[in-house]
């Protein structure tokens, strides 16, 4: 009734190939962006912004990265946490060596370092597939994690071995460090995420995205279409690691504000993000946001929401419940809808097109 495309005729191929060909979708996106960029900063509490929205955006970005390589190209990677760590350390080293360059530039540039390392660890993907590739990327995770602890140059020889996020400004406004307000950090993060999502959508809807999906669905046939497998797979790894790297950098600089990388970028983080991608939907951009939202909001609801409505839950119990729920959700989605929340959303939209009529 409200979601009908009747009367919306596409008069050019450009209109037909648009990412949001339906008017209601475009309105929806505009509303979401408006809420994210105006309503939340103005009305959201500090707690909501710093504990819900900022982690959500960081994880969405990381999930997007993993989805490029796992969802779109079909190569399982368990090195997400490590690639995020590479981004965080690259950003840290860059901004300590060149403090005068704007931090935003370094956040984006740190993705490039992560991309290079990701591509290097993606090399085995030409020969091995599936579980074996997962194990190969696991090697990346362990090796890089080891580097984060054992190479003191990375954390500037600080005694604690932690990243200390320095204060940096953008147009005179403090955006990183202890003095940056959550709202400012949120706005910067939102800008980065929106920009990179737009770019990812462009890439994935075009020739490169089709190349990735062709490699995923039938690599032999892809090769016959003239797609060289190694460059395609390495590009997927590089692109994926770029996104993960930027996610790691913003995680350290705009969310954690410093800390021990070995804790933030460990194997659990890799799995966490893999679960987000699986629950959100493999091979779907919107699924990254849905998965990140779900896995990020469930713990918060359990931790703070239940006490708020009068059910006292000890924080340990909430933690345990969280594990139970997440585990259950993963099994549920693998059985019921392997394509995750994104597919459910698609089905809902399909139903909405005709609702309230049967067809």
């Amino acid at each position: 009734m409200f979601y009908r495309e009747a009367g919306q005729f596409k008069k050019s191929y450009a209109a037909d190939m648009a990412v949001f060909p339906i008017l209601q979708d475009r309105i929806g996106i505009a509303v979401i962006l408006f809420i994210a960029a105006v309503v939340i900063p103005l009305t959201g509490s500090t707690f909501f912004i710093s504990s819900v929205m900022i982690p959500f955006l960081v994880f969405s970005l990381a999930a997007m990265g993993l989805n490029i390589v796992t969802g779109y190209t079909g190569l399982i990677s368990l090195g997400t946490g490590a690639f995020m760590g590479v981004g965080a350390f690259a950003c840290y080293k860059l901004t300590t060596i060149f403090p005068n360059v704007n931090i935003i530039i370094w956040i984006i540039a740190s993705g490039a370092f992560s991309a290079a390392i990701g591509a290097a660890f993606g090399l085995p993907s030409l020969r091995i597939k599936g579980f074996y590739l997962a194990v190969a990327t696991l090697a990346a995770q362990f090796f890089l994690e080891w580097c984060f602890v054992r190479v003191p140059w990375l954390y500037n020889y600080s005694a604690s071995g932690a990243i200390q996020v320095p204060q940096r400004t953008l147009f005179g406004v403090v955006i990183t460090g202890a003095n940056a307000s959550p709202t400012t950090r949120y706005m910067v993060l939102l800008g980065v995420v929106v920009l990179l999502t737009w770019v990812a959508s462009n890439i994935l809807h075009g020739r490169v995205g089709r190349t990735f999906m062709a490699v995923r669905d039938m690599d032999i046939a892809a090769e016959l279409m003239g797609i060289r497998l190694l460059p395609a797979k390495l590009l997927a790894f590089a692109l994926s690691s770029f996104y993960c790297g930027v996610a790691g950098a913003v995680m350290m600089f705009l969310w954690y504000g410093g800390g021990e990388a070995a804790d933030a970028f460990n194997i659990r983080q890799s799995f966490n993000i893999l679960f987000m991608v699986i629950i959100g939907g493999l091979g779907s951009l919107i699924g990254c946001f849905m998965g990140a939202a779900l896995l990020n909001i469930v713990p918060i609801i359990l931790k703070f929401g239940l006490p708020a409505i009068g059910i006292a839950v000890a924080s340990e119990t909430a933690e345990h419940l969280n594990h139970l729920l997440v585990g259950g959700l993963i099994i549920f989605f693998l059985i019921v809808e392997p394509h995750g929340l994104a597919r459910l959303w698609q089905i809902t939209k399909q139903k909405l097109r005709t609702w309230p009529f049967p067809y």
Binding site: Y13, V208, M213, D217, A221, L224, M225, L229
Partner: protein, 264 residues
């Protein structure tokens, strides 16, 4: 490929000379020679396990024969990868459909245009301007193929959901999108009903006429083979037993024996 000279219809496009292919001790193809002329429909037939599909795999670079030589467009070919065959204008379809199942019909056929798309990764970041113009230009070409194969109604359907007959048609479309010089069809009519077969025959003949594509075809339906093809090569146990026009092959005693069996 600009360096290659163009081949006139009737001239030799591909020449297979004394090719032998072994997998360990198993001889898949033994000393087979034949040629494919520009603009013809060349059928490769033979009983199951005769080495027909292996022959196609040799032609487009999946297998590397131990002996023999393949000349394509007048140039002898060294060992090469399938994607090189694609750049030289060899496209193929598979016996058991090898489509990109998670992608729509449109995207599948668009993948066939990959080699023709030149805009760099940088432009792909924007999906406006040059990259978009290129996309639209190729979309037009793809729409022509969709129109040609009469699959407009399934344009936006993921191919995994399509019935088998339509999948085969989409696969032909994907190969056609490459604008191949030589099209290898591996059992394009397997598992189809009569009507679908008739449609497919029509598309194959139209392809030849409209695009001037040379076609090498493996098929078990003898009626189809005899009607469609200009020349037929017959393989049995990896050995060529006959080569010639459909009439010659039909009359060949060896071929009859191979298909019907001989009393020993």
């Amino acid at each position: 490929m600009q360096t290659m000279r163009s081949i006139e219809p009737g001239q030799q496009l591909l020449n297979v000379e004394n090719v032998s292919l072994r997998f360990g001790g198993v001889k898949a193809i033994t000393d087979v020679s034949f040629d494919i002329k520009k603009g013809e429909v060349r059928a490769i037939i033979g009983p199951n396990g005769a080495g027909k599909t292996s022959m196609l795999n040799v032609i487009n670079g999946f297998y590397h024969p131990q002996e023999g030589q393949i000349t394509y467009r007048g140039e002898a070919r060294a060992r090469m990868r399938p994607h090189v065959a694609a750049t030289q204008g060899i496209a193929r379809t598979f016996q058991n459909v090898a489509l990109f199942k998670g992608m729509t019909t449109l995207d599948n056929i668009m993948v066939g245009r990959t080699l023709k798309m030149q805009k760099s990764f940088f432009w792909q970041l924007f999906r406006h301007g040059p990259a978009m113009n290129e996309e639209i230009e190729h979309r037009k070409f793809v729409e022509e193929i969709i129109d040609f194969l009469e699959i407009e109604h399934i344009r936006k359907v993921p191919v995994g959901k399509l019935p088998y007959g339509l999948q085969k048609r989409v696969e032909l479309g994907r190969a056609l999108a490459m604008q191949p010089e030589l099209l290898l069809l591996d059992e394009p009519m397997a598992g189809m009903n009569l009507e679908e077969k008739e449609d497919m025959c029509r598309f194959i003949l139209d392809t030849k006429e409209q695009y001037g594509t040379t076609i090498a075809l493996i098929e078990h339906d003898m009626g189809v083979v005899m009607d469609l093809s200009d020349r037929v090569v017959v393989l049995e146990y990896g050995i060529k037993i006959a080569d010639g026009t459909p009439e010659e092959v039909k009359a060949n005693q060896k071929v009859i024996d191979a298909y019907l069996g001989v009393a020993h």
